[in-house]
């Protein structure tokens, strides 16, 4: 049994955790929710004894009567992995790319028990079997790059449970995964907790994930736990205003844009578009295989229309997006933007100016060395920089709710939500007719997400811009699109009004996505 008692942490004199108490009973899942910076991850790091340098902690982290805060680093690292396991958010970076998956799982056992290599490999095999990576398809000698994101996360879980720890801490374990994979991973974690009787601390900003998984939930704000209780009770009757605000934001539906799709020639026509990649040869002189990432895709969009493009990771939606943006060449078929063909690398500026993009990662979308003013003005390259460009930048920033003094600052001075607003301002500045939003809100907290969705809805109404919304999050797609395209293995398998597709999916892929969608208690769909 592990518990945190009256834990307070200050870094450089600034308090980051304030009087946090939390019990993690065995065989139970405890959810820890809150916005970024509320102290969720810091609580996990304190339990792991991995607080950053210069952090001062008071209170107790109790494991079977021992205070972990009082242990020195050597004793603590002995407990880590053996008694406390941890799963991180990013399965792409949590594994060592140069070690086989078998060695990585076995390493934990060798490190803690001095187990012989063969014995450790045997246990590693069992653990990988347990997390759904059977030996026939997933031999121990595989390297991380040979696995998908979900499979890598399974390996990370196998490492965390290799030594059957008492406590498992999962920090946003599914945020980087698509919905169907997320559902499978959550199933796996639930099964492990039930079978092995470990305590699971599930840290996430996704209330739907917590609502459908955790037994108890603690809500954090500003380093404090503001409310704690059984999941069903807390979702039904939240006591604290912050909990109510989080729930409201998660259930938030932006006001539907009144402007419907406009008649007339389509803004975007994709006609039998195809793109394939050469696969690595299995043997020398073997014929090169090809992966059809986008396979004979056709659809069109009207001006002012809001269309969702959904599918699991690897279904080809990113490739299709890059083709529409003119970043990847079209190999077969054609893509017409406003009636003119999109040709990668050779698009006249006037045509390119009709489409802009907002990317997923609010941290990678901006050159860290540029000021916001220059960043937002970059698309003027296409149209020629007008004399009053600075006024226009200020106006675009005001439109997304940022003050004019943001212009002189660098991007690292803004939060994730603010950055995403800046990205939208950059996309709007030259008044394109189509904006592609590539998972543009998946990285945001629920409250910020609600604000950004409202903003998008409003802008669509006022400017008549068409949105192409690429996402694996169906609840977002439902709230903001009129029509949805479902993609599976490079093909569009379903195309229809959003409500109809989500309520009565026809294709197998769409049914899979809808079934995997995490739901908040009390939410029908």
């Amino acid at each position: 049994m592990i518990g945190v008692e009256r834990l307070s942490v200050a870094i450089g004199g600034r308090p980051v955790l304030d009087d946090v108490s939390l019990a993690l009973p065995p065989g139970r899942i405890t959810g820890l929710v809150g916005e970024s910076g509320s102290g969720k991850s810091m609580t996990a790091l304190a339990i792991m004894g991995l607080l950053p340098d210069g952090a001062r902690a008071t209170g107790r982290v109790d494991l079977d009567g021992r205070d972990l805060l009082a242990l020195d680093d050597r004793r603590m690292s002995d407990l880590r992995g053996r008694r406390i396991g941890m799963i991180f958010q990013e399965p792409m970076t949590a594994l060592n790319p140069l070690m086989t998956i078998g060695d990585q799982v076995a390493e934990v056992l060798i490190r803690h028990h001095g187990m012989a290599r063969d014995a450790a490999a045997t246990v590693a095999r069992l653990r990988l079997d347990r997390v759904g990576l059977p030996g026939a398809r997933f031999p121990l000698g595989l390297f991380p790059h040979e696995l998908s994101g979900g499979q890598r996360q399974r390996v990370a879980i196998a490492m965390a449970i290799a030594d059957a720890p008492d406590v498992l801490i999962a920090d946003e374990p599914t945020t980087a995964l698509d919905v169907t994979t997320q559902a499978q991973i959550m199933d796996l974690l639930r099964g492990l907790v039930a079978d092995e009787g470990m305590a699971l601390l599930l840290i996430t900003h996704d209330l739907a994930v917590v609502g459908s998984t955790a037994d108890r939930v603690a809500v954090m704000q500003g380093g404090r736990i503001v409310e704690e209780g059984a999941t069903a009770d807390l979702f039904r009757a939240p006591g604290h205003p912050h909990t109510r605000a989080l729930l409201a934001a998660a259930r938030h539906r932006p006001a539907r844009a009144q402007a419907p799709a406009l008649p007339g020639p389509p803004i975007l026509r994709v006609e039998r578009a195809t793109r394939s990649y050469a696969l690595p040869r299995r043997a020398p002189f073997a014929p090169t295989g090809h992966l059809r990432a986008v396979d004979d895709v056709s659809f069109s969009m009207q001006p002012g229309e809001s269309v969702g493009l959904v599918g699991e990771s690897g279904c080809g939606k990113s490739t299709l997006t890059r083709m529409i943006l003119g970043l990847d060449p079209v190999q077969g078929g054609r893509i017409l933007l406003d009636g003119q063909p999109v040709v990668a690398g050779r698009m006249p500026g006037a045509l390119r100016a009709r489409v802009q993009v907002v990317f997923q990662d609010p941290f990678g979308s901006f050159d860290p060395r540029w000021t916001v003013e220059r960043l937002v003005a970059e698309p003027f390259h296409l149209t020629g920089r007008p004399r009053d460009w600075q006024d226009q930048v200020a106006a675009a920033l005001a439109e997304v709710g940022l003050p004019a003094d943001a212009m002189r600052r660098h991007i690292h001075q803004f939060s994730g939500g603010q950055r995403q607003r800046i990205a939208i301002a950059r996309a709007l500045i030259i008044r394109p007719r189509l904006i592609v939003l590539d998972e543009a809100v998946s990285a945001l907290d629920v409250q910020v997400r609600a604000q950004v969705l409202d903003l998008l809805s409003r802008l669509r109404e006022s400017h008549g811009i068409a949105w192409l919304f690429i996402s694996h999050d169906l609840s977002v797609v439902r709230s903001i699109t009129d029509r949805v395209l479902v993609m599976d293995r490079g093909r569009i398998v379903e195309d229809g009004p959003t409500r109809r597709v989500l309520d009565a999916p026809e294709s197998a892929a769409a049914r899979r996505l809808v079934a995997a969608m995490p739901r908040m208690p009390g939410e029908t769909s």
Partner: protein, 271 residues
């Protein structure tokens, strides 16, 4: 971090200042010999002593700084001037024939031991400081091309580079506006390393008699000439050795400090 920048800047400034000052003034004529005053230890008249021909070591070091630093600066300029654009082009054309051509050309140069080829070049063109500079510079080209390409490659997959592409910018412009400033830190550090290696390479070439020719003073030649007297008058070897070490150290500190000072993200963290 700040302390490193200041210390490095001070050391580099002393070396550059001494080189500049030597144009106008040195305590003694660095080429004037005085057999009577030979191998004097550091003292009141000759602050750093004299060598086996009675030349004032401080004066020789000041005048030699011109040769050594000049050769190293121009060698870095040649290497970076040709190597960085090649590396940027290779990264922009990643996976295509131009990338392959540039990188295989690099391998070709890398395949030869640099000092041996530098000796070959200076032997063929005649030993002089200018030819040493060209020889060292050629070997800096693939170093800069490789470092540039390796640092630029991951940036090409970032969203802000895609955003620039969506804004209609082409590879040369993106390389200049987005890629180069963001790899500048790496390149500055590499430049200071190559600069230090340039000083050492010049010293090495002069040591074997293929760099600066007498009577032009150079740090490398001073070391070479001091070699036979190292037990008799150790200061003749130690003083130029320490000067080379301190200059190289100062340049490395300066490079690290500059890299951090030029990064707006690190600036904010310190504030």
């Amino acid at each position: 971090m700040k302390a490193g920048l200041i210390a490095g800047g001070a050391l580099a400034a002393v070396a550059l200042g001494a080189a500049a000052l030597s144009l106008a003034w040195t305590p003694f004529d660095p080429t004037a010999m005085s057999v009577a005053a030979r191998l004097q230890p550091p003292g009141a008249v000759h602050w750093l002593g004299t060598d086996h021909l009675g030349r004032d070591i401080l004066s020789m070091l000041m005048a030699g700084a011109r040769t050594s630093l000049g050769v190293a600066v121009l060698a870095v300029a040649i290497g970076a001037g040709a190597g960085v654009p090649l590396g940027l082009a290779a990264a922009a054309m990643r996976g295509r024939w131009l990338d392959d051509a540039i990188m295989r050309g690099n391998d070709l140069i890398f395949a030869f031991p640099s000092l041996v080829i530098a000796i070959l070049i200076t032997a063929a063109l005649g030993p002089s400081a200018a030819n040493a500079m060209v020889a060292i510079g050629i070997f800096n080209i693939p170093v800069f091309a490789r470092v540039t390409r390796a640092a630029a490659l991951p940036l090409w997959t970032l969203d802000y580079v895609r955003a620039a592409q969506v804004a209609g910018k082409r590879a040369p412009r993106i390389s200049a506006e987005h890629i180069l400033p963001n790899i500048a830190g790496t390149l500055i550090v590499q430049a200071t390393i190559q600069f230090s290696l340039g000083i050492l390479a010049e010293a090495g070439l002069s040591y074997v008699g293929l760099g600066a020719q007498p009577p032009t003073p150079s740090w490398g030649r001073m070391l070479a000439e001091a070699q036979t007297m190292v037990t008799l008058a150790p200061h003749v070897a130690i003083v130029p050795g320490i000067v080379i070490v301190l200059t190289v150290l100062g340049l490395n500190l300066l490079g690290d400090g500059l890299r951090d000072a030029l990064d707006p993200r690190l600036k904010a963290r310190a504030a």
